[in-house]
């Protein structure tokens, strides 16, 4: 009571709350401006030479030409003065000026590279530092023309849409079996998704290590995961509040299936990304084996979508929609991966996929509960372990 009285007596009492909120902000801005204006008084000159860090974000090879997209991810600006390929200086164009922090430039190097051979590109900065970039196997980068996008779309359909659709054909089976077995299937789905979440996270961390670190590196995976988890939770609670009047089991099942489809779709986006980027650098053999491997791997994802739909099956159109939500992002991922691969973006997207899956697992867990309300009981644990085992085993069939 006494404190409150003091506040009322203070000279600020007459000001509206928003002004009080803005005052510290204005003071901070003024302090920063003054600090910058006087060049950081009292701090003196920095010691030591500039820190020059450059990441190669993209390598494109055309006959007689190597194109590098580089990004300055160090604190100081960098000038690329000369470029050597396999210990021989070469002509290059682009990046004639200093590249500022987080700035990006494209270097075009005239070089008669030979298919299948390895190259080391050394960029010599104005201070004489070298930034090396390895091309382990030189392969011509596919042109991003209609035929190429057609091929990527076909790949996306093969590894994403068709397997998921096939997996959804388990729906009639799911509808006929006993509740106990439904719970087992849901547990199996949880296991499948847990595997995908782990896989996407590790893939994201690997990918993040390759590119510019200034955007956050591996932390992007976790930021992406958290963001998608929160976003899906928000969407989920919004949908629940709107569907309050219709709390029938079937509606909840459809809702759950949609969430599962979204989570799997985000995962397949990452999968397409991996396929597309591997294809672009020639590291992917587009054989039947790859497609069959992915088909088996992803068919189980279709099962995960239909498992919650045992009570009230939706119409064919709705089912197709769910299948597309889950499978089609593979096509988009393949496009992005092959045409505009950027490891920071890829890491973020893989994290988004992982976070979405975790959210979906959380949604599925109530459906695993038995009559006593237990989530982990022998049958459910067996189902989860089986899910992990299935994806582990089918994952051995593909390597990207």
């Amino acid at each position: 009571m006494e404190a409150r009285g003091a506040a009322e007596r203070s000279p600020l009492a007459g000001l509206p709350a928003w002004v009080l909120g803005l005052v510290p902000l204005a003071l901070i801005a003024a302090a920063v401006a003054a600090f910058a204006l006087f060049g950081g008084p009292g701090l003196g000159e920095r010691t030591g030479p500039p820190v020059e860090e450059v990441a190669v974000e993209r390598t494109v090879l055309h006959p007689g030409e190597i194109e590098l997209t580089i990004r300055n991810d160090g604190p100081d600006s960098v000038t690329i003065a000369q470029v050597a390929v396999n210990d021989a200086y070469v002509n290059f164009s682009g990046a004639q000026q200093a590249i500022g922090r987080l700035g990006s430039e494209t270097l075009t190097i005239a070089y008669p590279w030979i298919e299948g051979e390895a190259y080391r590109i050394s960029m010599l900065t104005s201070t004489g530092a070298t930034i090396d970039h390895e091309i382990p196997v030189a392969v011509e980068t596919p042109e991003a023309d209609a035929g190429f996008f057609g091929l990527m779309a076909l790949l996306g359909v093969y590894v994403g849409v068709i397997p998921v659709a096939l997996g959804m054909l388990w729906l009639p089976f799911v509808r006929r079996i006993d509740r106990r077995w439904i719970r087992l299937l849901m547990a199996l789905t949880v296991g499948l998704l847990a595997f995908l979440a782990i896989d996407a996270t590790l893939e994201g961390i690997d990918t993040a290590a390759e590119g510019a670190q200034a955007f956050g590196g591996a932390s992007l995976v976790f930021i992406g995961a958290l963001a998608s988890y929160l976003a899906l939770s928000g969407v989920d609670s919004y949908m629940r509040s709107r569907g309050e009047g219709d709390r029938a089991q079937g509606a909840a099942g459809t809702h759950l299936a949609l969430l599962v489809a979204i989570g799997i779709g985000l995962h397949n986006l990452g999968e397409g990304l991996a396929i597309g980027s591997a294809y672009a650098v020639g590291a992917l053999a587009l054989g039947a084996f790859l497609v069959i491997g992915f088909a088996i791997h992803n068919t189980t994802e279709g099962l995960a979508i239909v498992a919650p739909l045992s009570e009230r099956p939706p119409g064919v159109g709705r089912l197709a929609g769910l299948g597309l939500i889950a499978g089609a992002p593979a096509i988009l991922g393949a496009f992005i991966g092959a045409a505009a691969f950027n490891s920071s973006l890829a890491a973020l997207l893989l994290g988004v996929g992982a976070g979405a899956i975790v959210q979906v697992i959380q949604q599925l867990l109530p459906a695993v509960r038995d009559e006593q309300g237990r989530t982990l009981y022998p049958l459910s644990v067996a189902g989860m372990l089986a899910g992990l085992a299935i994806l582990f085993a089918t994952g051995l069939l593909v390597s990207v």
Partner: protein, 372 residues
């Protein structure tokens, strides 16, 4: 294409003289130099195509990719001739001048009748541009790398006043015959003020010019590899008493720079600037005797070598004999090895010279003679 063929055809048949530098500017130099000789002998439509392609590209290195030639100079590596050059004014020296800059010092006659020859050398710290856009924090004698080429005659008395204006201790260690105290070695000669010369210190080296030959000097402070790699070295030429035949004399110090300090060189060169004599060929006269004083001071690498195109030379190892040891077109030198090369160019044109350790060549140790 037909018109291009005609142009080249006429140029070739009208003789070698037409293939001068102006005609070949923009980068077809290497292919062009070989062209007059090859022109009537070899089926050459493809060659014309390559040359014209390189010309058309204006040295940008693009547009000629279908011919397999990407560099200005047609077939060889090098910096883009249309790109900017090293700033020689900022460096304070120009390899095109260093190559013929023979410093005879100042002389006076002693009471005994002998010639006393004197120089002043100051060591400083200086950032130099060793390839276009690439800067290196060097240590320099008299503001340049290599240091001044000291030239004298056998039997003269030499006096070299050394002042150390660098932030590190240095010495000048001469190759030659002299007393221990004059050897420029840390720990030897400190008693008379020599040995290692601290920052701000000075010392006068004094000894007789012996033996005649092609020698050199360098800093011998510790760590030795750093003090050499940073640029403290130069050529030291002692003429025989009777002198040598008149010739167009060139000094070539084969060196390199470890710009990222990983104990391996990033830039290789003669007289410091990578590809300098590709961009600015050394002009010599047809038929005239050319004498090259060649020194290998390259740090970190085991050997260096010198090869001249389309010609042979007489080689005098260390220059201490008046009889050549070999008639060849390629010689190999370890660090500190040096010698004298004598040759005449019988034909006009552009003739490449480079390390026949091709890695070094493609990292800067490559140039041209332009014979007129």
């Amino acid at each position: 294409m037909d018109e291009q063929r005609k142009q080249s055809k006429s140029a070739g048949t009208e003789g070698d003289r037409r293939f001068n530098r102006r005609r070949l500017i923009g980068g077809a130099a290497a292919a062009g130099a070989a062209l007059p000789v090859l022109h009537e002998v070899i089926p050459h439509a493809g060659l014309h195509h390559a040359v014209e392609g390189a010309k058309a590209s204006g040295g940008s290195g693009q547009g000629a990719s279908t011919n397999g030639h990407h560099m200005p100079g047609g077939t060889h590596t090098g910096f883009d001739s249309s790109a900017r050059d090293v700033n020689h004014a900022a460096n304070g020296f120009d390899p095109s001048e260093i190559v013929r800059d023979l410093d005879w010092g100042k002389t006076r006659r002693l009471a005994s009748g002998r010639v006393l020859r004197e120089w002043e050398i100051v060591a400083t710290d200086k950032e130099i541009e060793v390839a276009p856009g690439v800067h290196y924090p060097a240590w320099v004698y008299n503001g340049r790398v290599p240091g001044p080429t000291l030239r004298c005659r056998e039997g003269e008395r030499l006096r070299i006043r050394f002042g150390n204006g660098s932030s590190h201790p240095h010495t000048i260690h001469f190759h030659g015959i002299h007393p221990a105290a004059m050897d420029g070695m840390p720990g030897v000669g400190e008693g008379i003020g020599g040995g290692q010369i601290p920052t701000g210190g000075s010392f006068t080296y004094e000894f007789d010019a012996a033996p005649f030959g092609m020698h050199h000097y360098h800093c011998h402070a510790s760590p030795l590899s750093a003090h050499i790699a940073k640029g403290l070295y130069g050529a030291f030429i002692v003429d025989p008493r009777r002198g040598r035949k008149d010739a167009d004399e060139l000094v070539m110090v084969m060196n390199g720079f470890d710009t990222n300090f990983d104990n391996a060189n990033e830039v290789y060169a003669v007289n410091t600037v990578g590809f300098h004599y590709q961009r600015h060929p050394i002009r010599v006269k047809r038929g005239e005797l050319v004498r090259i004083y060649l020194l290998n001071i390259l740090e970190f690498d085991q050997i260096n070598s010198f090869h001249v195109h389309a010609n042979f030379f007489h080689y005098y190892p260390t220059g201490t004999s008046l009889e050549p040891s070999e008639y060849t077109d390629t010689i190999v030198q370890g660090q500190g090895q040096r010698g004298i090369l004598e040759l005449r160019f019988p034909y006009e044109g552009m003739y490449m010279f480079h390390a026949h350790k091709t890695e070094f060549a493609e990292l800067g140790w490559l140039g041209f003679f332009e014979v007129v």
